[in-house]
Assembly symmetry: C2
Amino acid sequence: MLNVEIITIGDELLIGQVIDTNSAWMATELNKVGLDVRYKTTVGDNEADILDAFDRAFSRASIILVTGGIGPTKDDITQKTLCKYFDTRLVFDETILQTIENVFAGLSKTLNELTRRQAYVPEKAVVIQNQMGTAPITWFERAGKILVSMPGVPYEMKWAMTTEIIPRLQEYFTISDAIRHQTFWVKNYTESLLAMCLEEFENELPAHIKLAYLPTSGLIRLRLTGRSADAESLAFEMAGQREKLLALLDGNVVSENEESPELILDKILKQNGLTLSVAESCTGGKLASLFTAIPGCSQYFKGGVVSYSNDAKSDILNVNLWDINQYGAVSCEVAEQMVRGAQNIFHSDCAIATTGIAGPDGGTPEKPVGTVWIAVAYRDLIVSRKFQFSKNRENNILRACNNGLAILMELLQD
Amino acid sequence: MLNVEIITIGDELLIGQVIDTNSAWMATELNKVGLDVRYKTTVGDNEADILDAFDRAFSRASIILVTGGIGPTKDDITQKTLCKYFDTRLVFDETILQTIENVFAGLSKTLNELTRRQAYVPEKAVVIQNQMGTAPITWFERAGKILVSMPGVPYEMKWAMTTEIIPRLQEYFTISDAIRHQTFWVKNYTESLLAMCLEEFENELPAHIKLAYLPTSGLIRLRLTGRSADAESLAFEMAGQREKLLALLDGNVVSENEESPELILDKILKQNGLTLSVAESCTGGKLASLFTAIPGCSQYFKGGVVSYSNDAKSDILNVNLWDINQYGAVSCEVAEQMVRGAQNIFHSDCAIATTGIAGPDGGTPEKPVGTVWIAVAYRDLIVSRKFQFSKNRENNILRACNNGLAILMELLQD
């Protein structure tokens, strides 16, 4: 079986100033073509540690994907270290200089000496032109194993993986195993309650099909992963297991889509020509940002109001101040008036409103930290629910967002 | 020198369904007390790979911090594997059951069989009570080296690290080296231009002081890191290097605060009793969410409008529709009317407005993808600037946010 190891290089990853979002994305893309990431290693900009990581990786993986450390600055030593490891030297590559100059022209910047240095690449490497930036992508082969070095800049890495590296890997290796994933978004369960209810099911699973629990804030994502050389029979088996699971979960599966709730709604809203707006108190803009991160969302997303003060709730969303004083800002009445307010001022078919005590402060005996009211409207329909989340602010914000999305999914799927 | 290795365990990390934000946070906290993370390793819920990672870590690190794989579900095998590695067995711990029951009482959930199982812990381990969840934290000692296993749930891990693990590590080890960090937020430079301008400075740095480039979207974060057994002379040296650097960067340092721009502004706004609101088009709620993620922001953050449509811009923010048609939604005129609109409807001292073409679509020859207008207001003062960012949506959103924050910092610091 082909093992993949991802090696991320950079002091910034070890002193904690950069969060590695790359490797998760890479793993997802590799999975789609039947490749498994088995190890992830992070080392600093330190020659000995990088060489050691290379050795280790070649001893246990067939595909080694290296990100980072190839910028123009002095602290980036990956290129030099690659030369040392593969016993080669840096040579000047005219075509790369061309690409770099084109990229810079596109960004209307001036090419400088330091950037020009990026046109020097390891002689033994197959060089892949980087169309998104200046750092060259290099492909090394050793004893039937492949090491690829690419930039750590996320959108450069994503471009390189999608358009160049994955296709070349598929060409180079015959990927025999088929991988099938089946995701289930489950509501109304805690992780441990769900695990109890599925214990028997899990024990009866064949060895080549695995069940994973992925608690996202507010919903639990279950994932069945099967792998086999026989894609057809695997598909058949997976379908059977899916049926079993759906029966056990009995109506609590919000979606079977692999994608995030907001991406699922993105499709539903577009398909049905519906528009959406949000009114956010405790989620503070997070809910809007989930949709506006999606290209083309302006087709249905009209906008949102972050009403962090009572004045804002009444002035902009026309929430009745008397009700705010009577029932409190965190109440069914206010949540429902917020969602109607959003629908009205944005003229949208659907709306989601959140109001709650995110914490860590602001809790009361009647309304402790984690108390959240969510109201969701679809045309005249309106659903509002009270939730009691955690003591953690970040967690409460995410759970409020995901539950708002889940309620809208239910409304639109009925 | 004491090396720290972080081992994160979980299939979800290898199939890319969870992004590891823990290790970056851990590294930052460890740095503060003079501990360096030198290696990060991720393996799946696979006994052989976990044992192998433990062996490797003990061979090269003195402190091994393990997160994940200790949940109540079947796919979590870290506890069992720890027993195998340290040649011990799981025993029932009454006090842990108590803690778990208390936690659950606090969350008004019902304790179930599977959760009760979490009260079984490795006999040889020192057990640390987890006050935030049900998964026990275990501390192992071998030949003067320490391995600690903790939950992967971020807020449980953060609680454990801050209140228990780091203090115990400081007690157990005599941490001789002092580490000093000095951060500089730099505007108006590309990474490579900055590197050229600082090349000489960097070459002249003593071996125990390093310069790192941390390009965050929109601003470049420079970090001087010095380490030495002699804290006093190090502080003196660092001060000298800081002076040199400030002279070289000549007015382009937006802040020297270690923290993120929004946290820096959080303090400035609170100290000066100023209020803030936002009007977001291309940043789509992201800017608001940066502030509302900060506990206590309601003290100054009044709210925001995500005006994703022209109607919203005119209806809610009172932007002149004629101007939108005349100059376009992405224009200085509209940005400035948006920022004034936010100030007015939220009655705030300060406001930030963004309008741009985030991409990937929607660009024109005159206004290509990445064109963004940002307007920032402080009382009567108003500053608006045009930016040309990248072709990448995510990147453009973040750069627009950070540049908006940077402009407000300048305004408030003058």
